[in-house]
């Protein structure tokens, strides 16, 4: 029983990280209806930035704040200069731009920082908490995820800028008519997504270590989480993230062993999607004929 509880709790910790990245995917999807394949590599790059700052002697939390801000600006610039020109191209062409961005970021990170695995420090103490059921880092990662969620909720519900961004996502044409600068709202959405991704990257790096390919597995889980929860629902993405994290851990530990856990987790997710094709919390689109 205790072993089971341990697996569930550590599943919640990784699930929190999947949830953050899934949230970043949903942010971009909601405003532009694109799925950003490069989200994981953007987070990886941000984490390397943080590593550079920490290696240069900055304190962990200062580096954290600086990285989040820098990632926000980078996300903004990527939208302005790379995504804007293909705004009206066919969807799959945009996907190609995302894949291009993915390989560029991956390759440049490998070039600058080399492909050797680096360890990334955790800001939390090393000793276990809750009577040995969790490490402090796992508890901290869940805490940070929840803080990010609350901040985002407050931002979107209670600030004029958040309202403007929601309006843009829902109806860009009407938003423009009432004077919202739609283009900038989309860029802001990218910036926010990059910043959230950076947080996820810095939280998972102490667990999976730092290397240019660290995010490939994580991004897949984040996709699965976002789609499981419903790609147009931020709350769904977060719950989906926790479900995927727990499922992955429990399945791997008790049912089929670690070598097939990715496969099984995906099969379960697809089985759910077959029953509920728009995800657990997604809006069911009914079209009039």
């Amino acid at each position: 029983m205790e072993a089971f509880l341990h697996q569930v709790l550590s599943g919640l910790a990784t699930g929190g990280i999947y949830a953050s990245l899934a949230l970043a995917l949903v942010m971009i999807y909601q405003s532009t209806h694109h799925i950003n394949f490069a989200q994981g590599e953007m987070a990886m790059f941000s984490t390397y930035l943080a590593w550079t700052m920490i290696a240069a002697g900055m304190s962990w939390w200062l580096a954290f704040v600086a990285t989040v801000l820098a990632s926000f600006v980078i996300g903004l610039l990527i939208e302005r200069f790379l995504i804007r020109p293909v705004e009206n191209a066919p969807v799959l062409t945009v996907v190609i731009v995302f894949i291009g961005l993915l390989v560029i970021l991956n390759s440049v990170a490998g070039w600058i920082y080399s492909y050797t695995i680096k360890s990334f420090p955790s800001p939390f103490p090393a000793e276990p908490v809750l009577g040995g059921l969790m490490s402090a880092h796992e508890l901290g990662a869940i805490g940070v995820t929840l803080v990010v969620l609350v901040l985002l909720y407050v931002f979107f519900q209670f600030t004029p800028l958040g309202l403007a961004m929601r309006a843009t996502a829902q109806n860009p044409v009407s938003s423009r008519l009432v004077g919202i600068r739609v283009g900038w709202m989309l860029a802001l959405g990218w910036g926010l997504a990059a910043a959230i991704g950076a947080v996820a990257g810095m939280m998972i790096a102490p667990v999976v270590y730092l290397d240019p390919n660290m995010m490939s597995g994580v991004l897949l889980y984040a996709f699965a989480a976002a789609l499981l929860g419903g790609i147009d629902s931020p709350v769904g993405a977060v719950i989906g993230g926790f479900i995927v994290g727990v499922l992955e851990n429990v399945m791997g530990a008790f049912v089929i062993g670690t070598e097939l856990k990715l496969t099984i987790a995906l099969i379960v997710i697809i089985a759910v999607l077959l029953v509920r094709p728009s995800g657990l919390f997604g809006r069911v689109i009914v079209s009039r004929v």
């Binding site: 790379l82 897949l220 496969t263 995906l266 697809i270």
Partner: protein, 336 residues
């Protein structure tokens, strides 16, 4: 009456011009085919191998294009069908002593069934959700191939080594040239079949489902059947490509069929041009040769250069190389 005459005349001239252009197009096609046949006798063995692989990719991309381009179902999992085709061929040759040429249709058939069955549950999923489901298949494939219970046939992580087939006795080719010509012959047949398919009733039904599913249903198109059939046919093409690929590379192993391969196929289809037969060739040339070019430009970060190429193509030709050429062609035709 007199008012109508000039119009009819100009229309007649238009068809004459179009017929002339079609003649040129046919002549051009023949010339290209002749050049393709001569190619392995003009370049080195290694280049011949590369062109053979490009032909293999062209067959795969054609299959993917039937599904994604003509039927509008996004697949990020064709690497899995490619793997199944390759493994069926390799296991048949290695464990059962089946001659290499017989494994190609066998792989195609196995993939047809596999693809059709996979297409049935996929009917419920659309767009991004379908992309995820197929991507999951691609991600799972290497793990499944390594699975202990089937190691006796698949050779586990080690994979299977295949011997390079000899050309039939009496033909004056070396092994690479023979493989190239065999692949070319199969590719030509597959292209002709695909061309006929998309210009037939079936092709129109597939495109109608892509463009307006409700209208297609109302016209009496059995959309569920066509969609899963499109999956099956697409997998058949990919399986044939996989079998040829295995024979050409002479080796199969689980880690040659990663999710990256599936993404590469999608890249090829989009860069080549969606819903276009010739697009498969441009896409295949892109995914075969651009990584090499990128590697020559920068040894330090070749994939960064590849990414720049990708983005540049997406900017310059949003409808793919084939779409770009079609635009160019139309402009010439209008002027002529």
């Amino acid at each position: 009456m007199s008012g109508k005459a000039p119009e009819a005349e100009s229309a007649g001239a238009g068809t004459a011009v179009r017929a002339g252009l079609r003649l040129w197009a046919a002549l051009g096609l023949l010339l290209v085919l002749a050049l393709l046949c001569a190619l392995p006798f003009l370049v080195s063995s290694y280049r011949t191998f590369q062109f053979t692989m490009a032909l293999v990719y062209a067959i795969v991309l054609l299959g993917l294009n039937i599904l994604t381009g003509y039927n509008g179902q996004i697949s990020l999992g064709h690497g899995a069908f490619f793997a199944v085709g390759a493994y069926v061929a390799a296991v048949l040759m290695d464990r059962f002593g089946v001659p290499y040429w017989a494994t190609i249709p066998a792989s195609g058939l196995v993939c047809l069934v596999f693809g059709y069955l996979f297409g049935l549950p996929a009917l419920r999923l659309q767009g991004h959700y379908l992309a995820l489901a197929t991507f999951a298949l691609a991600v799972a494939m290497p793990q499944l191939l390594k699975y202990k219970a089937i190691e006796e046939w698949t050779g586990g992580v080690q994979g299977i080594v295949i011997l390079k087939p000899d050309p039939p006795a009496g033909l004056p080719f070396n092994q690479d040239q023979w493989l190239y010509l065999l692949t070319l012959a199969i590719a030509v047949i597959m292209f002709a079949l695909a061309w006929n398919l998309v210009h037939s009733r079936v092709g129109r039904a597939l495109m109608a489902i892509r463009d307006h599913p409700v209208a297609a249903e109302a016209m009496g198109v059995n959309s569920a059947w066509y969609k899963s059939a499109a999956f099956g046919i697409s997998a058949l093409y990919t399986g044939v490509g996989g079998a040829l690929g295995a024979i050409v590379v002479q080796f199969v192993a689980p880690d040659s069929f990663t999710a990256g391969l599936s993404i590469n196929f999608l890249v090829g289809v989009v860069i080549g041009g969606l819903a276009s037969i010739s697009g498969a060739i441009w896409g295949a040339l892109f995914i075969q040769f651009v990584p090499n070019i990128a590697d020559q430009i920068s040894k330090a970060a070749p994939w960064a250069i590849y990414g720049i190429f990708l983005i540049a193509f997406a900017y310059a030709m949003p409808t793919g190389v084939a779409g770009f050429l079609r635009l160019l062609w139309r402009r010439i035709a209008r002027r002529g």
